[in-house]
Protein backbone atom coordinates (compact mmCIF):
# COMPACT_ATOMS: atom_id res chain seq x y z
CA UNK A 1 0.00 0.00 0.00
CA UNK A 2 1.48 3.32 -0.91
CA UNK A 3 0.79 6.71 0.59
CA UNK A 4 -0.07 8.85 -2.39
CA UNK A 5 -1.89 11.30 -0.14
CA UNK A 6 1.45 12.40 1.17
CA UNK A 7 2.64 12.99 -2.35
CA UNK A 8 -0.17 15.18 -3.56
CA UNK A 9 0.39 18.91 -3.80
CA UNK A 10 3.72 20.64 -3.74
CA UNK A 11 6.07 19.93 -6.56
CA UNK A 12 4.58 16.49 -7.17
CA UNK A 13 1.30 16.67 -8.99
CA UNK A 14 0.92 13.60 -11.19
CA UNK A 15 1.38 10.32 -9.37
CA UNK A 16 0.82 6.80 -10.64
CA UNK A 17 -0.12 3.97 -8.33
CA UNK A 18 -0.02 0.32 -9.39
CA UNK A 19 -2.35 -1.55 -7.08
CA UNK A 20 -2.64 -5.24 -6.28
CA UNK A 21 -6.07 -6.06 -4.92
CA UNK A 22 -9.07 -3.72 -5.06
CA UNK A 23 -9.06 -3.29 -1.28
CA UNK A 24 -5.49 -2.03 -1.52
CA UNK A 25 -6.65 0.53 -4.08
CA UNK A 26 -9.57 1.52 -1.88
CA UNK A 27 -7.24 2.03 1.07
CA UNK A 28 -4.71 4.21 -0.70
CA UNK A 29 -7.19 6.19 -2.81
CA UNK A 30 -9.54 6.55 0.18
CA UNK A 31 -6.71 8.07 2.17
CA UNK A 32 -5.75 10.33 -0.74
CA UNK A 33 -9.35 11.60 -1.04
CA UNK A 34 -9.82 11.96 2.72
CA UNK A 35 -6.61 14.01 3.02
CA UNK A 36 -7.91 16.34 0.30
CA UNK A 37 -11.36 16.77 1.82
CA UNK A 38 -9.94 17.40 5.29
CA UNK A 39 -7.57 20.06 4.01
CA UNK A 40 -10.37 21.89 2.22
CA UNK A 41 -9.46 20.93 -1.32
CA UNK A 42 -11.87 20.25 -4.14
CA UNK A 43 -11.77 16.51 -4.80
CA UNK A 44 -12.61 14.81 -8.11
CA UNK A 45 -13.06 11.05 -8.54
CA UNK A 46 -13.25 9.58 -12.03
CA UNK A 47 -13.73 5.87 -11.41
CA UNK A 48 -15.79 2.78 -12.19
CA UNK A 49 -18.99 2.30 -10.18
CA UNK A 50 -17.58 -0.50 -7.96
CA UNK A 51 -14.50 1.55 -7.21
CA UNK A 52 -16.55 4.65 -6.38
CA UNK A 53 -18.56 2.57 -3.88
CA UNK A 54 -15.37 1.17 -2.35
CA UNK A 55 -13.86 4.65 -2.00
CA UNK A 56 -17.01 5.98 -0.37
CA UNK A 57 -16.99 3.09 2.10
CA UNK A 58 -13.38 3.91 2.89
CA UNK A 59 -14.26 7.60 3.36
CA UNK A 60 -17.05 6.56 5.73
CA UNK A 61 -14.50 4.71 7.84
CA UNK A 62 -12.57 7.97 8.01
CA UNK A 63 -15.73 9.68 9.27
CA UNK A 64 -16.45 11.42 5.98
CA UNK A 65 -19.92 11.26 4.40
CA UNK A 66 -19.48 11.17 0.62
CA UNK A 67 -23.11 12.19 -0.02
CA UNK A 68 -22.76 15.28 2.16
CA UNK A 69 -19.37 16.17 0.64
CA UNK A 70 -20.98 15.94 -2.80
CA UNK A 71 -23.97 17.99 -1.75
CA UNK A 72 -21.74 20.67 -0.27
CA UNK A 73 -19.75 20.91 -3.51
CA UNK A 74 -16.45 19.56 -2.24
CA UNK A 75 -16.52 16.09 -3.79
CA UNK A 76 -17.23 15.41 -7.46
CA UNK A 77 -17.68 11.81 -8.56
CA UNK A 78 -17.87 10.89 -12.22
CA UNK A 79 -18.17 7.55 -13.96
CA UNK A 80 -14.88 6.70 -15.69
CA UNK A 81 -16.35 5.09 -18.80
CA UNK A 82 -19.01 7.79 -19.03
CA UNK A 83 -16.46 10.58 -19.05
CA UNK A 84 -14.18 8.62 -21.37
CA UNK A 85 -17.08 8.25 -23.80
CA UNK A 86 -17.34 12.02 -24.09
CA UNK A 87 -13.96 12.37 -25.76
CA UNK A 88 -13.20 8.91 -27.13
CA UNK A 89 -13.97 9.32 -30.83
CA UNK A 90 -13.77 5.85 -32.36
CA UNK A 91 -10.14 4.76 -32.36
CA UNK A 92 -8.78 8.15 -31.27
CA UNK A 93 -9.03 10.70 -28.50
CA UNK A 94 -10.58 14.08 -29.22
CA UNK A 95 -8.10 16.33 -27.46
CA UNK A 96 -10.39 19.35 -27.51
CA UNK A 97 -13.29 17.50 -25.97
CA UNK A 98 -11.05 15.96 -23.30
CA UNK A 99 -9.78 19.38 -22.38
CA UNK A 100 -13.27 20.87 -22.23
CA UNK A 101 -14.61 18.03 -20.08
CA UNK A 102 -11.64 17.98 -17.71
CA UNK A 103 -11.47 21.77 -17.40
CA UNK A 104 -15.19 21.96 -16.58
CA UNK A 105 -14.81 19.32 -13.88
CA UNK A 106 -11.66 20.78 -12.35
CA UNK A 107 -13.06 24.30 -12.65
CA UNK A 108 -16.08 23.37 -10.54
CA UNK A 109 -13.85 21.63 -8.00
CA UNK A 110 -11.60 24.70 -7.83
CA UNK A 111 -14.46 27.00 -6.81
CA UNK A 112 -13.17 29.81 -4.64
CA UNK A 113 -9.61 29.19 -5.74
CA UNK A 114 -9.08 26.15 -3.53
CA UNK A 115 -6.55 23.45 -4.53
CA UNK A 116 -7.85 20.45 -6.44
CA UNK A 117 -6.88 16.82 -6.36
CA UNK A 118 -8.09 14.26 -8.87
CA UNK A 119 -8.14 10.48 -8.84
CA UNK A 120 -8.74 9.05 -12.32
CA UNK A 121 -8.69 5.59 -13.86
CA UNK A 122 -9.81 6.19 -17.44
CA UNK A 123 -6.27 5.34 -18.53
CA UNK A 124 -6.59 1.97 -16.85
CA UNK A 125 -9.87 1.34 -18.72
CA UNK A 126 -8.13 2.08 -22.00
CA UNK A 127 -5.21 -0.14 -21.07
CA UNK A 128 -7.59 -2.94 -20.05
CA UNK A 129 -9.32 -2.68 -23.41
CA UNK A 130 -5.96 -3.19 -25.11
CA UNK A 131 -5.62 0.46 -26.15
CA UNK A 132 -2.21 0.91 -24.56
CA UNK A 133 -1.20 3.66 -26.97
CA UNK A 134 -4.40 5.60 -26.22
CA UNK A 135 -3.82 5.17 -22.48
CA UNK A 136 -0.39 6.76 -22.82
CA UNK A 137 -1.82 9.50 -25.02
CA UNK A 138 -4.40 10.25 -22.34
CA UNK A 139 -1.70 10.35 -19.65
CA UNK A 140 0.09 12.87 -21.80
CA UNK A 141 -3.10 14.98 -22.10
CA UNK A 142 -3.46 14.99 -18.31
CA UNK A 143 0.16 16.08 -17.94
CA UNK A 144 -0.32 18.89 -20.45
CA UNK A 145 -3.48 20.01 -18.68
CA UNK A 146 -1.43 20.14 -15.49
CA UNK A 147 0.84 22.75 -17.04
CA UNK A 148 -2.19 24.99 -17.67
CA UNK A 149 -3.79 24.79 -14.26
CA UNK A 150 -2.52 23.30 -11.02
CA UNK A 151 -4.12 20.15 -9.68
CA UNK A 152 -2.91 16.97 -8.06
CA UNK A 153 -3.59 13.82 -10.05
CA UNK A 154 -3.38 10.23 -8.91
CA UNK A 155 -3.73 7.58 -11.61
CA UNK A 156 -4.54 4.00 -10.71
CA UNK A 157 -3.52 0.94 -12.71
CA UNK A 158 -3.97 -2.67 -11.66
CA UNK A 159 -0.47 -4.05 -11.14
CA UNK A 160 -1.25 -6.91 -13.51
CA UNK A 161 -0.12 -4.54 -16.27
CA UNK A 162 3.41 -4.88 -14.87
CA UNK A 163 3.39 -8.59 -15.58
CA UNK A 164 1.91 -8.45 -19.07
CA UNK A 165 4.31 -9.62 -21.72
CA UNK A 166 5.49 -7.00 -24.15
CA UNK A 167 4.28 -3.96 -22.24
CA UNK A 168 7.49 -3.06 -20.40
CA UNK A 169 8.17 -0.13 -22.71
CA UNK A 170 4.61 1.16 -22.33
CA UNK A 171 4.75 0.83 -18.53
CA UNK A 172 8.02 2.77 -18.70
CA UNK A 173 6.27 5.47 -20.76
CA UNK A 174 3.47 5.68 -18.21
CA UNK A 175 5.95 6.03 -15.35
CA UNK A 176 7.93 8.68 -17.22
CA UNK A 177 4.77 10.70 -17.89
CA UNK A 178 4.06 10.95 -14.19
CA UNK A 179 5.98 13.28 -11.98
CA UNK A 180 6.07 10.54 -9.38
CA UNK A 181 5.54 6.82 -9.05
CA UNK A 182 4.68 5.45 -5.65
CA UNK A 183 4.11 1.79 -5.07
CA UNK A 184 4.51 -0.88 -2.45
CA UNK A 185 4.48 -4.66 -2.37
CA UNK A 186 5.01 -7.34 0.24
CA UNK A 187 7.21 -10.41 -0.17
CA UNK A 188 7.51 -13.60 1.91
CA UNK A 189 10.65 -14.63 3.83
CA UNK A 190 12.03 -16.68 0.96
CA UNK A 191 15.26 -16.43 -1.00
CA UNK A 192 13.23 -16.26 -4.21
CA UNK A 193 11.73 -13.00 -2.94
CA UNK A 194 15.02 -11.27 -3.67
CA UNK A 195 14.62 -11.91 -7.38
CA UNK A 196 10.89 -11.12 -7.27
CA UNK A 197 11.60 -7.78 -5.55
CA UNK A 198 14.28 -6.95 -8.13
CA UNK A 199 11.90 -7.66 -11.01
CA UNK A 200 9.21 -5.62 -9.28
CA UNK A 201 11.26 -2.43 -9.08
CA UNK A 202 12.89 -2.74 -12.48
CA UNK A 203 9.39 -3.24 -13.89
CA UNK A 204 8.24 -0.01 -12.23
CA UNK A 205 11.31 1.81 -13.45
CA UNK A 206 10.39 0.86 -16.99
CA UNK A 207 12.46 0.27 -20.07
CA UNK A 208 12.84 3.98 -20.78
CA UNK A 209 14.97 4.51 -17.70
CA UNK A 210 18.21 3.38 -19.31
CA UNK A 211 20.79 0.75 -18.42
CA UNK A 212 22.52 2.67 -15.65
CA UNK A 213 19.27 3.40 -13.84
CA UNK A 214 18.04 -0.16 -14.19
CA UNK A 215 21.40 -1.47 -13.03
CA UNK A 216 21.69 0.66 -9.91
CA UNK A 217 18.05 0.20 -8.99
CA UNK A 218 18.35 -3.57 -9.39
CA UNK A 219 21.43 -3.62 -7.17
CA UNK A 220 19.82 -1.58 -4.41
CA UNK A 221 16.59 -3.62 -4.51
CA UNK A 222 18.55 -6.88 -4.47
CA UNK A 223 20.78 -5.99 -1.54
CA UNK A 224 18.00 -4.46 0.57
CA UNK A 225 15.78 -7.48 -0.07
CA UNK A 226 18.64 -9.89 0.65
CA UNK A 227 19.31 -8.03 3.88
CA UNK A 228 15.73 -8.62 5.03
CA UNK A 229 15.59 -12.27 3.99
CA UNK A 230 19.08 -13.42 4.97
CA UNK A 231 19.75 -11.42 8.09
CA UNK A 232 16.38 -10.49 9.48
CA UNK A 233 14.96 -13.78 8.10
CA UNK A 234 11.80 -11.80 7.71
CA UNK A 235 9.15 -11.17 5.13
CA UNK A 236 9.35 -7.60 3.92
CA UNK A 237 7.51 -4.81 2.19
CA UNK A 238 9.31 -2.94 -0.54
CA UNK A 239 8.30 0.63 -1.34
CA UNK A 240 9.31 2.21 -4.61
CA UNK A 241 9.07 5.94 -5.08
CA UNK A 242 10.33 7.89 -8.06
CA UNK A 243 9.93 11.58 -8.72
CA UNK A 244 11.72 13.94 -11.04
CA UNK A 245 14.71 14.19 -8.75
CA UNK A 246 15.14 10.88 -7.02
CA UNK A 247 14.42 7.18 -6.90
CA UNK A 248 13.88 5.81 -3.42
CA UNK A 249 13.66 2.16 -2.43
CA UNK A 250 12.68 1.24 1.11
CA UNK A 251 12.44 -2.18 2.68
CA UNK A 252 10.48 -2.66 5.85
CA UNK A 253 11.08 -5.88 7.73
CA UNK A 254 9.74 -7.25 10.97
CA UNK A 255 12.97 -7.57 12.98
CA UNK A 256 14.08 -4.62 15.09
CA UNK A 257 17.63 -3.33 15.11
CA UNK A 258 19.25 -3.20 18.51
CA UNK A 259 22.34 -1.17 17.76
CA UNK A 260 22.47 1.74 15.38
CA UNK A 261 25.24 4.25 15.06
CA UNK A 262 23.22 7.06 13.49
CA UNK A 263 19.91 7.66 11.86
CA UNK A 264 21.19 8.75 8.51
CA UNK A 265 24.46 8.46 6.66
CA UNK A 266 25.63 10.67 3.89
CA UNK A 267 27.23 8.72 1.08
CA UNK A 268 30.82 9.14 2.13
CA UNK A 269 31.63 5.48 1.66
CA UNK A 270 33.02 5.49 5.20
CA UNK A 271 31.75 5.31 8.71
CA UNK A 272 28.59 3.38 8.00
CA UNK A 273 27.63 0.83 10.64
CA UNK A 274 28.09 -2.30 8.54
CA UNK A 275 28.51 -4.46 11.61
CA UNK A 276 24.82 -4.23 12.42
CA UNK A 277 23.75 -5.05 8.90
CA UNK A 278 24.85 -7.31 6.09
CA UNK A 279 28.35 -5.99 5.64
CA UNK A 280 29.28 -5.87 2.01
CA UNK A 281 25.80 -5.82 0.54
CA UNK A 282 24.83 -2.64 2.33
CA UNK A 283 28.26 -1.13 1.70
CA UNK A 284 27.50 -1.39 -2.01
CA UNK A 285 24.14 0.28 -1.41
CA UNK A 286 25.86 2.98 0.63
CA UNK A 287 28.30 3.71 -2.18
CA UNK A 288 25.55 3.93 -4.81
CA UNK A 289 23.09 5.96 -2.77
CA UNK A 290 23.09 9.70 -2.28
CA UNK A 291 21.39 9.09 1.06
CA UNK A 292 20.43 5.98 2.95
CA UNK A 293 19.33 5.17 6.44
CA UNK A 294 18.06 2.55 8.81
CA UNK A 295 14.94 3.76 10.59
CA UNK A 296 14.23 1.62 13.65
CA UNK A 297 10.62 0.77 14.47
CA UNK A 298 9.26 -0.93 17.58
CA UNK A 299 8.48 -4.08 15.61
CA UNK A 300 11.06 -3.93 12.86
CA UNK A 301 12.96 -1.47 10.76
CA UNK A 302 12.97 0.36 7.46
CA UNK A 303 16.17 0.38 5.44
CA UNK A 304 15.99 2.86 2.59
CA UNK A 305 18.26 4.30 -0.06
CA UNK A 306 17.92 7.10 -2.56
CA UNK A 307 19.49 7.16 -5.98
CA UNK A 308 19.87 10.65 -7.42
CA UNK A 309 18.67 11.30 -10.93
CA UNK A 310 22.12 12.58 -11.92
CA UNK A 311 23.46 9.08 -11.40
CA UNK A 312 20.46 7.49 -13.07
CA UNK A 313 20.97 9.69 -16.07
CA UNK A 314 24.62 8.71 -16.46
CA UNK A 315 24.91 7.07 -19.87
CA UNK A 316 26.59 3.96 -18.53
CA UNK A 317 28.33 2.71 -15.44
CA UNK A 318 30.77 2.97 -13.84
CA UNK A 319 30.00 6.34 -12.31
CA UNK A 320 32.42 9.24 -11.91
CA UNK A 321 33.96 7.91 -8.71
CA UNK A 322 34.91 4.64 -10.35
CA UNK A 323 38.08 3.83 -12.27
CA UNK A 324 37.94 2.74 -15.89
CA UNK A 325 37.57 -1.00 -16.43
CA UNK A 326 40.88 -2.82 -16.96
CA UNK A 327 41.71 -3.87 -20.47
CA UNK A 328 42.84 -7.30 -21.49
CA UNK A 329 46.58 -7.68 -21.24
CA UNK A 330 48.19 -8.73 -24.47
Amino acid sequence: MSHPGQLAGGAVNHVVHFYGADDELADSVGRYLADGLRSGEGVVVVATAPHRLAFEARLAREGLDAARERRDGRLFTVDASGLLGRFLAGPRLDHGRFEAAALALIGRAAAGGRPVRVYAEMVALLWDAGDVALAIELEDLWTKLGTRLPFGLLCGYPDSVLAEPGTAAAVGDVCQLHSAVADQRSFPAELDSVRAARHYVTGLLGAGAGDAAACDTAIVATELAANAVLHARSGFTMTFYRSAGVTRIAVRDMVPVHVLAGAEHEATGEGVPFEVMTGHGLSVVARLASRWAVDPLPDGKVVWAELPLSVLRAPKPPGPELPAPPRQEN
Binding site: D192, R195, R198, D216, I219, T222, A226, L230, R233, P326
Partner: protein, 120 residues
Protein backbone atom coordinates in the same frame (compact mmCIF):
# COMPACT_ATOMS: atom_id res chain seq x y z
CA UNK B 1 26.48 -16.41 0.50
CA UNK B 2 25.63 -19.37 2.65
CA UNK B 3 23.02 -19.47 5.32
CA UNK B 4 24.85 -20.81 8.34
CA UNK B 5 24.04 -21.89 11.87
CA UNK B 6 21.25 -23.95 13.32
CA UNK B 7 18.44 -21.97 11.75
CA UNK B 8 16.17 -23.73 9.26
CA UNK B 9 16.96 -23.16 5.62
CA UNK B 10 15.17 -20.29 3.95
CA UNK B 11 13.02 -21.73 1.17
CA UNK B 12 14.18 -21.27 -2.41
CA UNK B 13 12.80 -22.97 -5.49
CA UNK B 14 14.06 -20.99 -8.46
CA UNK B 15 16.64 -22.06 -10.99
CA UNK B 16 17.05 -18.76 -12.72
CA UNK B 17 20.59 -19.24 -14.03
CA UNK B 18 22.41 -21.67 -16.30
CA UNK B 19 26.09 -22.56 -16.21
CA UNK B 20 27.07 -24.79 -19.10
CA UNK B 21 30.25 -26.06 -20.71
CA UNK B 22 31.14 -24.38 -23.97
CA UNK B 23 34.29 -26.25 -24.98
CA UNK B 24 37.46 -27.19 -23.05
CA UNK B 25 38.09 -24.71 -20.26
CA UNK B 26 35.19 -22.56 -21.43
CA UNK B 27 31.76 -21.99 -19.93
CA UNK B 28 28.67 -19.95 -20.52
CA UNK B 29 26.79 -18.26 -17.67
CA UNK B 30 23.27 -16.94 -18.33
CA UNK B 31 20.18 -15.83 -16.44
CA UNK B 32 20.30 -14.34 -12.96
CA UNK B 33 22.54 -15.15 -10.00
CA UNK B 34 21.69 -13.90 -6.52
CA UNK B 35 21.54 -15.23 -2.96
CA UNK B 36 18.83 -17.72 -3.88
CA UNK B 37 21.25 -19.66 -6.07
CA UNK B 38 24.78 -18.50 -5.25
CA UNK B 39 25.60 -21.60 -3.17
CA UNK B 40 24.51 -23.77 -6.03
CA UNK B 41 26.44 -21.57 -8.45
CA UNK B 42 29.58 -21.85 -6.30
CA UNK B 43 29.25 -25.64 -6.35
CA UNK B 44 28.83 -25.68 -10.14
CA UNK B 45 31.89 -23.49 -10.53
CA UNK B 46 34.02 -25.58 -8.18
CA UNK B 47 33.01 -28.79 -9.99
CA UNK B 48 33.64 -27.31 -13.41
CA UNK B 49 36.99 -25.77 -12.61
CA UNK B 50 38.07 -28.78 -10.56
CA UNK B 51 37.04 -31.25 -13.25
CA UNK B 52 38.75 -29.25 -15.96
CA UNK B 53 41.94 -28.99 -13.92
CA UNK B 54 44.70 -26.51 -14.48
CA UNK B 55 46.07 -28.69 -17.31
CA UNK B 56 42.84 -28.24 -19.27
CA UNK B 57 43.17 -24.50 -19.24
CA UNK B 58 44.26 -22.96 -22.50
CA UNK B 59 47.10 -20.49 -22.83
CA UNK B 60 44.71 -17.78 -21.70
CA UNK B 61 43.37 -19.81 -18.78
CA UNK B 62 39.66 -20.37 -18.44
CA UNK B 63 36.97 -18.32 -20.09
CA UNK B 64 33.37 -17.66 -19.06
CA UNK B 65 30.99 -16.00 -21.48
CA UNK B 66 28.38 -13.76 -19.86
CA UNK B 67 26.59 -12.44 -22.93
CA UNK B 68 23.25 -13.66 -21.63
CA UNK B 69 23.79 -12.96 -17.97
CA UNK B 70 21.02 -10.59 -16.94
CA UNK B 71 21.96 -10.11 -13.30
CA UNK B 72 24.63 -11.14 -10.82
CA UNK B 73 24.86 -9.95 -7.23
CA UNK B 74 27.61 -9.69 -4.68
CA UNK B 75 27.23 -13.32 -3.58
CA UNK B 76 27.62 -14.45 -7.19
CA UNK B 77 30.75 -12.37 -7.64
CA UNK B 78 32.17 -13.82 -4.43
CA UNK B 79 31.59 -17.35 -5.73
CA UNK B 80 33.31 -16.44 -8.97
CA UNK B 81 36.27 -14.82 -7.25
CA UNK B 82 36.67 -17.77 -4.88
CA UNK B 83 36.63 -20.31 -7.72
CA UNK B 84 39.16 -18.29 -9.72
CA UNK B 85 41.47 -18.00 -6.73
CA UNK B 86 41.23 -21.74 -6.05
CA UNK B 87 41.87 -22.64 -9.68
CA UNK B 88 45.03 -20.56 -9.61
CA UNK B 89 44.82 -19.73 -13.30
CA UNK B 90 43.62 -16.72 -15.16
CA UNK B 91 39.83 -16.64 -15.65
CA UNK B 92 38.66 -14.42 -18.47
CA UNK B 93 35.13 -13.09 -18.47
CA UNK B 94 33.55 -12.14 -21.80
CA UNK B 95 30.37 -10.14 -22.46
CA UNK B 96 30.36 -8.80 -18.93
CA UNK B 97 27.06 -6.97 -18.18
CA UNK B 98 26.91 -3.47 -16.69
CA UNK B 99 25.67 -4.76 -13.36
CA UNK B 100 28.81 -6.86 -13.03
CA UNK B 101 31.07 -3.81 -13.45
CA UNK B 102 29.05 -1.88 -10.94
CA UNK B 103 29.38 -4.54 -8.24
CA UNK B 104 32.96 -5.40 -9.15
CA UNK B 105 34.22 -1.92 -8.41
CA UNK B 106 31.82 -0.92 -5.66
CA UNK B 107 32.67 -4.00 -3.62
CA UNK B 108 36.41 -3.69 -4.21
CA UNK B 109 36.93 -6.88 -6.21
CA UNK B 110 38.94 -4.98 -8.82
CA UNK B 111 41.70 -4.53 -6.26
CA UNK B 112 41.30 -7.74 -4.30
CA UNK B 113 40.95 -10.32 -7.06
CA UNK B 114 43.78 -10.52 -9.54
CA UNK B 115 43.06 -13.83 -11.26
CA UNK B 116 39.75 -12.73 -12.83
CA UNK B 117 39.88 -10.62 -15.94
CA UNK B 118 36.65 -9.03 -17.11
CA UNK B 119 37.67 -8.34 -20.70
CA UNK B 120 34.56 -7.03 -22.41
Amino acid sequence: MSVTGEQPAIPATGHPYQFTADGPGRWRLSGEVDVAVSDQFATSLARAVGAAGAAAAGADGYAISMDELRFIDLSGLRALAAAATTAGVRVELHGVPAVFWRYWYLAGFSEAVTSVYPVS
